[in-house]
């Protein structure tokens, strides 16, 4: 895999919101990273994850399947990275490892220079939880139907022992995702799918993480709603949030991400600035993947 960032084209990278995006151009308004300049916020080295397959016959030796095969990945602070690939390519396994939700068979993950140890206690991983927010594909499955939206959104504040006025923070973050602060007293079933994904997003960012990780956060949504949530994610990115977005939807990645990593068979086969990878792919797999995407003629 290539070391990140790849050399940028002379004109710079124009990303989805029309700004020229170089790390050094970022204003330090939201606090400089604690890590030395140039060090990535997320660094993975030699990540490998094997699973034992189910036995086909009793007592047979269990076959090993390799879900992730020697993956290196750097994500610089403030960048938006899209990880694309088809089912079984290893993209979800990769983000589980980045989040310390699963233990690699081999390899290491560092976030903000600190090693991520998935075997550590929940308390010992508080620092990582504070740094990261997570949004899933299905807002129906990820919100507890018996809790009010206010309680759902403030959950990370309580769980991570964050001081301050939780109620005020909930109102603030609900407004940020375009929901009425009153929404806090209502329950998930009272909301449409798109509103629920806004609630999920509010919860993911309530504790002001620097990294937002999304696992297909837009896939279950209708196009209209998808465009709205995409706008919210773009706003967060513009405000300096580091995004890691797993998607099979290349349109979303093209719209949102500065960089893209293409995965197949547990490996990252191509990684670079979005415009370069999507418009001048160097790998056969990337070319095949892009050629398969339906387009509306003339658009």
């Amino acid at each position: 895999m290539t070391e990140n960032p790849l050399p940028e084209p002379a004109e710079g990278i124009r990303n989805g919101h029309g700004r020229f995006d170089r790390l050094s151009d970022r204003s330090p308004s939201r606090g400089e990273p604690l890590i030395p300049r140039g060090e990535p916020l997320i660094r993975a080295r030699g990540l490998r994850r094997e699973y034992l397959a189910a036995r086909k016959v009793p007592f047979a030796r269990r076959a090993r399947t390799v879900a992730l095969d020697d993956v290196d990945l750097d994500v610089a602070a403030g960048r938006a990275l899209g990880i694309i690939g088809e089912s079984g390519s290893g993209k979800s396994t990769l983000i589980r490892l980045l989040l310390g939700l699963d233990r690699p068979t081999a390899g290491t993950v560092h976030v903000d220079g600190r090693p991520v140890d998935a075997t550590a206690s929940a308390r010992a991983l508080h620092w990582l939880r504070r740094e990261t927010g997570l949004v899933f594909q299905d807002p129906y499955a990820s919100l507890d139907p018996r809790q009010s939206v206010g309680r759902i959104v403030s959950e990370p504040l309580r769980a991570l022992g964050i001081d301050g006025d939780h109620r005020a923070r909930v109102a603030e973050v609900l407004a940020q995702v375009g929901l009425d602060p009153e929404a806090g007293s209502r329950y998930p079933h009272e909301f449409s799918g798109g509103q629920r994904q806004r609630v999920a997003l509010a919860r993911a960012i309530a504790h002001r993480p620097r990294i937002l990780i999304g696992d297909e956060p837009l896939s279950a949504l209708d196009v209209t709603v998808r465009a709205q949530i995409l706008g919210l994610l773009r706003g967060l990115s513009r405000d300096g949030m580091t995004l890691v977005l797993v998607s099979h939807d290349i349109g979303v990645v093209q719209n949102l991400c500065d960089d893209v990593a293409v995965m197949t068979d547990g490996r990252i086969v191509e990684h670079g600035p979005t415009a370069r990878v999507l418009h001048r792919p160097e790998q056969d797999y990337t070319r095949r993947l892009l050629a398969a995407i339906p387009v509306i003629p003339g658009r």
């Binding site: 088809e86 398969a292 995407i293 339906p294 509306i296 658009r299």
Partner: protein, 262 residues
């Protein structure tokens, strides 16, 4: 062989979920029904086939070759389904019988309408499996659905739907559950079979870009009504309804745009 739908209404618990939809599919036409979730597109397709869930009632008119088929007794409809009208659904797992081999399920469609013996039916099943480009057809006909990949299952479902050479294929989100490269293969297969058999097609989708690959005409649905209909090209280049304009704008905001710009 044409399909004519006039003022189709589907009600569930006194709620009109399909509220007076009309469209026609002339012989050989490829029509797309497009809309967001809750627009009524899938219920419309189910109503055409007499497959509405319990508690849903349909009224209006669905004419197949001039014959009224809406609310026909199930036995008479069953003759038309499979023989003259084939169906493919989003999730082949639910459309396939998990405890019968692929070959037997293909043969069943054939044997409903043709009296042939087991041996001949098996040979035909193998030929049909080959026609949808299932790998190693002679062995795959002896397999069960769970032994196939998602893309292979959808190919098998297509083989079953087309085994009796229907004149119309109704496909409800047939590629939505598939990965993009497999989606492209399955769409290509569907189109080539529709063309070689001279079938008409009703293709239900939420995805404008997919629709653009398969349909010649489209009906845009919203809240159980037709927002706009016409040749696909017109809808994509000069959409008249705000619903179509919105779908197009939102879709292009999040769709892969290929080689343009930058």
């Amino acid at each position: 062989m044409s399909l004519e739908v006039t003022d189709l209404v589907v009600e569930i618990d006194d709620r009109r979920v399909v509220d007076g939809i009309s469209f026609a599919v002339p012989d050989g036409a490829r029509l797309g029904l497009i809309g967001e979730s809750g627009s009524g597109k899938s219920l419309t397709a189910l109503a055409l086939m007499g497959l509405l869930p319990d508690g849903a009632t349909a009224s209006g008119s669905v004419r197949w070759n001039g014959r009224e088929i809406l609310n026909l007794p199930d036995r008479e409809l069953a003759d038309i389904r499979g023989d003259e009208i084939g169906m493919v659904f989003q999730e082949p797992r639910t459309a396939l019988n998990p405890i019968r081999t692929i070959g037997r399920q293909i043969a069943e469609t054939i044997r409903i309408h043709e009296r042939i013996d087991r041996r001949a039916a098996r040979a035909r099943a193998i030929a049909e499996a080959a026609r949808v480009a299932l790998p190693d057809p002679e062995r795959i006909v002896d397999r069960y659905p769970h032994q196939l990949s998602g893309g292979q299952r959808q190919r098998a479902a297509i083989a079953i739907a087309l085994a009796a050479r229907p004149r119309l294929l109704i496909a409800d989100e047939p590629t939505t559950a598939l990965d993009v490269t497999i989606q492209a293969d399955v769409l290509r297969l569907l189109l080539s079979l529709v063309e070689s058999d001279g079938m008409s097609l009703v293709f239900i989708t939420h995805d404008l870009a997919v629709l653009a690959q398969v349909a010649t005409h489209a009906v845009v649905l919203a809240d159980g009504r037709v927002a706009e209909s016409g040749p696909l090209e017109t809808l994509l280049t000069a959409p008249a309804s705000p619903i179509t304009q919105g779908l197009l704008r939102d879709a292009t905001a999040t769709l892969w745009r290929g080689e343009d710009e930058r």
